[in-house]
Every structure is written in structure tokens, then in C-alpha cells.
């Protein structure tokens, strides 16, 4: 072997049994799924699903190991929207702050 194993490329490692337990889908998970389907649809075409994989592969080891499945998607698609100049980090932060403030005022 002259190549090195990337952090996501764990096929064949002895990591013990796979946790196959299921949980009901949350609203958050459904929303992230919907956002990705819309962004990768031909009509929108913000990026390809291959780019989502690449963006996930660029995470830090800590993020890769600890982010739940759909939070990986959310973080990666956020990074890609900024990379593709669809949204800026400032626009996203401002919108999050506005929604957080609305929620704090009981809306």
C-alpha cells in the first residue's frame, strides 16, 4: 500500500458490530433532506451530491466523528452554499440571529 487511508474510508476495519437501531425521523432531519434534494435538483443545481460527499470528507476528524448524519449534511451544504457564492457566512449568521431573537420573544 502506497496510499494512505482517508478518515471516511473505513471499509474493512474491525470497528465492531454496526448499530442498526432506527429512530423516528425528526422534523430537522426531514428539512435537511428536503433542502439537499432542492439544492441538487436540475432546476436549482447549486452543486452535485458528489460535492456534498467531498465537503463532508473535508471536515475535521472531530466533526466527522461526532456530527450526527444529517448534521453532516447540513454543515456540508452550508459550506457549499458559501463556496458557490449562493449565500455568505454573514447572511447566514444574520438570519440565524434574527430567528433566534424571534424565538426568544415567544413567536
Amino acid at each position: 500500500m502506497t496510499s494512505t487511508r482517508a478518515m471516511h474510508d473505513i471499509g474493512g476495519l474491525d470497528l465492531g458490530p454496526i448499530d442498526r437501531s432506527e429512530h423516528p425521523r425528526t422534523l430537522h432531519e426531514l428539512r435537511v433532506d428536503a433542502i439537499l434534494i432542492l439544492l441538487t435538483s436540475p432546476a436549482c443545481g447549486a452543486f452535485k451530491v458528489d460535492a456534498l460527499r467531498r465537503a463532508i470528507e473535508e471536515f475535521s476528524q472531530v466533526d466527522y466523528d461526532h456530527l450526527p448524519y444529517y448534521d453532516r449534511w447540513l454543515q456540508a451544504l452550508t459550506n457549499l452554499l458559501i463556496e458557490q457564492h449562493v449565500l455568505s457566512r454573514g447572511e447566514i449568521d444574520a438570519r440565524v440571529a434574527a430567528i433566534t431573537a424571534e424565538a426568544a420573544h415567544g413567536h
Binding site: 496510499s3 474510508d9 452535485k48 458528489d50 460535492a51 467531498r54
Partner: protein
């Protein structure tokens, strides 16, 4: 990587053992391994390019390749592994 497929079903192939540049669909555990082409899966846009927002052209031929299965103890088992490998990761094997 022309339009004509480089390998036919039955061909002995070796998966390249090289470091990927960026996104790569060839799993680490198959790099450097020999296998047999079972069928041609079609021609597809290059996923490494698509991952970088490039057009992914020319399309790459994708092959279904059969490998011997090696268990966690390092020994070959009776099982086999089928994997889809793009042409740019395959070499002729003796």
C-alpha cells in the same frame, strides 16, 4: 480514456495503488488488489470532477469487478466482493 472501454468482461485487472487527489470513489481496501471484470456498468460523469463543480467530462467507463474476500484476520474466505470501479483506477493485471 477514450469512448471504447479498455477492458472486457473476464479481464484480469489491478486497482491502482495511488493517493487520490480529492474526492475518490475507489475504496482504500481495494487499492493494489487484483480482480476480474464481471460487466460494464455504463459511462458516467467523473465524480472527482463533479465534487469540484466541474462538468465531469469526458465520461468514465464504470466496471463491476469481482475480488476475493479477505477477512479481518487477513485470510481469504469463500466469499467474494463486488465493487464498481472507474476505468481511471484500473490497470491490466498479468
Amino acid at each position: 480514456m477514450g469512448i471504447e472501454p479498455r477492458f472486457e468482461p473476464g479481464a484480469c485487472v489491478r486497482v491502482a495503488d495511488r493517493q487520490p487527489q480529492g474526492h475518490c470513489r475507489t475504496p482504500f481496501y481495494l487499492r493494489g488488489r487484483n480482480g476480474e471484470v464481471i460487466s460494464l456498468a455504463g459511462r458516467f460523469h467523473d465524480p472527482a470532477q463533479l465534487a469540484q463543480h466541474r462538468p465531469g467530462l469526458p465520461k468514465l467507463t464504470l466496471y463491476r469487478v469481482r475480488f476475493a474476500h479477505i477477512g479481518l484476520d487477513g485470510r481469504t474466505t469463500q466469499n467474494e466482493i463486488m465493487a464498481d470501479i472507474y476505468e481511471d483506477w484500473l490497470e491490466s493485471a498479468p
